[in-house]
Amino acid sequence: MDEHEELERLLHRELQARDAPPGFSARVIAKLPQAPQPAPLQTAHRVWLPGLRWTAAAVALMAIAGGGYWEHQRRERIAGERARGQVILALHISAVTLHDVLHKVVKDTKGDAE
């Protein structure tokens, strides 16, 4: 047996799979460091986070609704001003047309009388 064969046999024996002694896993787990507990602040976040989300959603919704209402009001005001302008134009033309007709009649009546 040469040196190489001796080394191979030694390695084979030492690296052979062996069963762990009973209770080994439990002892290893027991020695593991405990997982850190959540800090008090993080706990508060967990409590408040859903509330904050709802508040943000409500604020966003209110902003959208408010913006929509404001836009509606703005459009209505523009349409109203336009309608007012149309009324004024209609009254103006009505008054002037009526005046022109009556003026013509009066002029012709005077002409006939003369």
Binding site: R77, A79, G80, E81, A83, R84, Q86, V87, I88, L89, A90, L91, H92, I93, S94, A95, V96, T97, L98, H99, D100, V101, L102, H103, K104, V105, D108
Partner: protein
């Protein structure tokens, strides 16, 4: 069988009512033709809804308040003003066509001026219901202009007079018009 005839009658009644409701309040005859012939035209149609809507925005000053008060009793104002490049863009038949729509029993001609070619005609028709003015139609034809105004609703000439000096309407215009109309 009886119920069928009742249903038919109801259907006919509904159709008649619908036809009446879609009848335009202003005579639309020739509008498109006149607009096509005109070099410049103004058409304003304001029904009761539009007048009420405009009224909401007429609170700014005293003249607005007076106009608003006048508009409250009206069902509509319809104005057409056509300007032509040259005379002869409308005929006496056109004018007759427009006038014919105010020949109903409610309407009374108050002013009627006729020229040979119809290019100097003037008309004022007034609609009287129970002795109260409920509408007015004014037609003014000039060689290069044609205007007609239809005011639907209770119109008080004294209110018309109060509008003088407002909205660019000269005071003497409404004063004279109100005086003549209320005669």
């Amino acid at each position: 069988m009886r119920s069928l005839s009742v249903l038919t009658a109801l259907g006919l009644f509904a159709l008649a009512a619908a036809a009446q409701s879609i009848t335009p309040p202003f005579p639309v005859t020739l509008e498109k033709e006149l607009a096509a012939r005109a070099s410049n035209y103004t058409e304003v149609s304001l029904d009761k809804k539009m007048l009420a809507f405009a009224g909401k925005f007429m609170d700014g000053n005293a003249e607005d308040a007076e106009a608003k008060q006048m508009l409250a009793t009206l069902n509509g104002i319809y104005v057409r003003e056509y300007e032509f490049d040259k005379p002869g863009q409308y005929t006496t038949a056109d004018l007759e066509n427009i006038r014919s729509q105010f020949n109903g029993s409610d309407w009374s001609p108050m002013v009627r001026e006729r020229s040979k070619k119809g290019e100097g005609d003037s008309d004022i028709y007034i609609r009287l219901v129970d002795g109260k003015m409920q509408g007015m139609f004014v037609l003014d034809a000039e060689p290069n202009d044609l205007s007609f105004v239809y005011i639907d609703g209770a119109l008080d000439p004294s209110e018309l007079s109060r509008l003088g000096g407002s909205f660019g309407i000269p005071k003497h215009v409404t004063k004279r018009a109100a005086k003549e109309v209320s005669k």
